[in-house]
Subunit: 355 residues, 4 copies
């Protein structure tokens, strides 16, 4: 019942702080015989890596992942895969201010209330830097589900949404926003430039679609596929909302509008709608699994905010230095990783329970 | 790793089907010495009970809960509390149609795809009737957290939202919709009457607020309070979206707008906003915990829907008989129960880890 | 992390006290489609049932098991199987003495120290009566592993061991001691009669052999098959020791004596010794799995024992009335059940992880 | 449900192989604010370290432990503590023989049967080298239970037992056998010299006593303290038997002989015997917890053993090179570590459940 682990049969545990020597993940339960090396994991880390555009934090981290165990002669052995990423650019700055006072919107106060003590350097354990470990673990998970394709992209930044009619998956890699709509990407570049210069921040919505999984994954009633996805996504730093399929919009539809009628198909049913987002009763239906995730605006802003010190006195804090003006952007690779981890886990669980 | 259990230190396991002899929950980990009897649990079951207004299913179930273990001389003993609710009104109707074909929007096809076999009577295990067991377990959880008040209510039905300015908690019990706005309740009565008569269905949004819990509950990074709440809520039948605090709206705010500034307070900080919904970094901040849950419209409607048979042939199905035209309404007591279960669990977990 | 649950993929949770209305088990994770009814479980309960010879407690319990969920049309559905056994013969005796003082050797003092409160009637939750629920759950587990045969028998009572040369499995059902040696059974009858009459008690050793399982079950390093068996057996009431294969005797052998050489066989290796008890590195080798379990003498004896009251005063207690003079005898069916539960769980786990 | 993790609230996960770059443990759930640094863990690793006498493997490993996370300013933060030990002396020898054939008594065949693939270098994951990670984790666990003293020692090697009358705890550190009886240690030195020279091996029995823990730790019925200890000990490499208190000897006692009478004491009861080994009903009684563990003789011996190749052909293998002629000796620090891990876990669990 480690509270720093996630998953059932494919279970990973992460460790590490923003300013410690390294961070990592131990992935347990990976089936044996899968071809793996660092090169298969690195591209996912590179997608999440900071410092690649002016719209993300300028912290320079190579995020090179090392495999320390669980692999022999280029294949997984079935034993725990230990992944380590060294921290390189923990800039030695003056932390005396955040040591004494709580940054509003951050986890500073909550950690102190819980533990009576905290590593205040760069947010410590609560830093989004930990998501590098998730992304590395997600790379392993992908090997477990070669039949599944996963794609995450940003659909909205600061309230400006993409035009669904202009959706082009090939655009996603062409801009620093994981944006599938070239025109929206152009608008976002202008908007983000202003946000960055003013020291403000904005939120974002990330959507993720998984295709290729069969019907039957998911474990009702308390290991439902959608419930596990909700936990996986809500646990990502800065996430405040999760939707499956039509999500909150479904609450505004009638039963007739929300129906996903079924027709005879070549292999299983053919659907002509997917309001359900590929999951019914907590089990996959064979349709694409669709998840949408809301990221709040980064709490670190230049405008001073009223707050209190550890001693309870009034003060103000603002955030100098490096941060993502829109943390949701780099959330896209993290959402992909969590999707992969949940689906891989459920593939194994289904195989164990239903043969 | 039972997939029909939820929770960490306070862990409950449910069992039972819509048309079996009974359903129940085993609640493990309840601290000893708490005063309890059936009378303390029954009011929550009564709130969820069907057949109380014309806007819910007409199935008549007394939903009397029995305590079979874990209690001695009116107090919890620290051993498992077994709760059982007999099914009384499993009307013997003709199930030959749903035995052969899949009801679209229901879990029928997914269960068959997973298990190759299903109890088709009334949805079997996937029936929302199982939520009676959650509500009973939630009643036990409430005893663990007497310092916490939990209130859930419906904020929106079929796209018609309450007026926040008219919010009156005392109204919630005055109408069959758990609606805190008397005028909205009146409108909903008209709307639901039409929905019911036409054999259609609508969705709803339920909001739940917990007050009184201290800062410090929640277990980062993979036992975060918000992630556990997300799993708890998304796992309820018909739920498609979960928000904490401002949720998706936060994605449209700037960092300045979304800030929750802190000021010196009598006991801990005083906040003048709660965009975060009472949780930062997965840990409670001492502010009210706010969760919002989207229920899709009931899939059971009178309009025939195209579907397929188990043999893969085209057919049509429509739902005669008893069902909730808006399953979200009776979702309110279930959301309350899940909130109680998650908070009680985290209280114990925090005590174990941080003393 | 329910502390009243056991298993990983096939996980069961038990509930109930000696003098409550009923006790039961919820078995989760049972694969779908297995043929099952009460009649398939009852024989195992009958084997454990009290009151069948003068050498066991005279409490009269029919121990009729009811299946309340998870089964449809005679087959498992993959959903939780709820099993209930009503308590019938909770004789209303005077418990005022044990309410006030602690029976030495029993769990009375420990429960009070832990919970500050206890159900003192017949030992409450700590009563061996709970093992009826394990045996029922074990009956389900057996359906999961039709390829495995499990046989437990008593090899020693009160220090008097069977003669291995006279081992005859068909004798086990011919005497009330689960004894595979007719001559030993005759001796034990004499010995036990004296023990019973004097109000004393004796210990026993139970051995259990499982054959038919393939090589490859077990999950190193912290889900080893032998470690799980050790936990399963040590958790049975009155058990104080567990051995796999040669156990403690292996500690007195040389490496040459303890070797289990391998030779080419028809399907996998052929072994000509089984010192290891069928498990190497926590994984089954395909040889019979051999476990030996030590039961202490029943703590309930007629000779008064010094003890203290709840208030800390000196007193004496002795046990009148119904109990097993050798609790190890009826331990045999319980050991079988736990073996079945562990093996079935590992079969599913192996299938999940290694396909 | 990681199968490479152990514990409930204090949960550790180990990773690493004999011949990989490193091995380690992630310890989750350690309470915040405990003073810690590498120097507090290293002595335990040093006690287990190979190459310190001629009676252990000559592999030279400094076993320097590094703390990579979870510690700030010399104190635990409540976040995961990542511990890493680099492998230094993975001698590059020729593994072609063990790559092709299975060493009898080792896990080689079982791993291949399970995974279809294995890291054969030095036993891979099944090497006792992994116990270094347990010992490091155990060092953290000790910080959680400062009230408890733990002492493990070898009571028997190759069938030659210590004289209990000569027990002297201060002798344990005076010989390479963790032997509390100076005369036995002298005899063992002679015996082991012969064993070593002949290339044979012998088994051993390790006893471990924990004192200072209060009554009330342990979580019945499937998280019993003794059951968890049994799993913890049986999971150590080469262990084949576990006893609590009198263990198998208790099975040969009468109820009168096995009684642990209670008398009024200064703080709780006073006992004048401890047949139960400090645990009743799965809960600690406040008496010393006593565990005894049987280690089989090391399977690696110079005498060639019949075995088969991966292709199923007959061959013979014998073990050249470095190994422990009595693996039980260095088992003593590992048994201590597992005792610490189980007790620390149960301290937190008890605090969580019973406040």
């Amino acid at each position: 019942m480690s509270v720093n682990s996630f998953g059932r049969l494919l279970r990973f545990t992460t460790w590490g702080e923003s300013h410690g020597p390294a961070l990592g993940a131990v992935v347990d339960g990976c089936p044996p015989g899968l071809e793996i090396d660092e090169g298969k994991l690195q591209p996912f880390l590179d997608a999440r890596r900071p410092g690649q555009s002016k719209f993300t934090t300028q912290r320079q981290e190579p995020d090179q992942v090392r495999i320390l165990s669980g692999v022999f002669e280029g294949k997984t052995t079935g034993t725990p895969i230990s992944l380590m990423i060294e921290n390189v650019d923990q800039r030695s700055k003056d932390y005396s201010e955040v040591a004494k006072a709580y940054r509003p919107g951050h986890a500073d106060y909550a950690y102190d209330a819980k533990y009576g003590f905290r590593d205040y350097r760069g947010g410590g354990r609560s830093s989004a830097r930990e998501t590098a470990a998730r992304v590395a673990a997600g790379g392993v998970a992908r090997l477990v589900i070669p039949e599944v394709s996963i794609l995450a992209y940003v659909t909205e930044i600061g309230g400006d949404a993409i035009d669904r009619a202009s959706f082009d998956a090939s655009e996603i890699a062409n801009n620093p926003f994981f944006c599938p709509d070239a025109q929206a990407a152009a608008r976002w570049a202008t908007q983000m430039e202003a946000v960055r210069k003013s020291g403000s921040s904005v939120g974002a919505v990330v959507e993720c679609i998984a295709t290729g999984l069969p019907a039957g994954w998911g474990a009702p009633l308390y290991g439902k596929l959608d419930a596990d996805l909700a936990a996986a996504m809500m646990g990502i730093n800065a996430v405040k909302g999760v939707e499956i399929g039509d999500g909150f919009a479904a609450a505004r539809l009638s039963g007739e509008q929300n129906a996903d009628p079924m027709y005879p198909g070549a292999t299983g049913p053919r659907f002509d709608a997917n309001h359900a987002g590929g999951i019914a009763g907590g089990i996959s239906t064979g349709q694409p699994v669709v998840v949408r995730v809301a990221f709040k605006p980064t709490s670190s802003i230049l405008t001073p905010q009223p707050t209190i010190t550890r001693d309870g006195d009034a003060t103000e804090l603002f955030t100098k230095g490096r941060h993502d003006p829109c943390v949701g952007i780099r959330g896209a690779p993290v959402v992909e990783a969590m999707m992969a981890l949940v689906l891989a886990d459920h593939k194994l669980l289904h195989r164990g329970q239903c043969g």
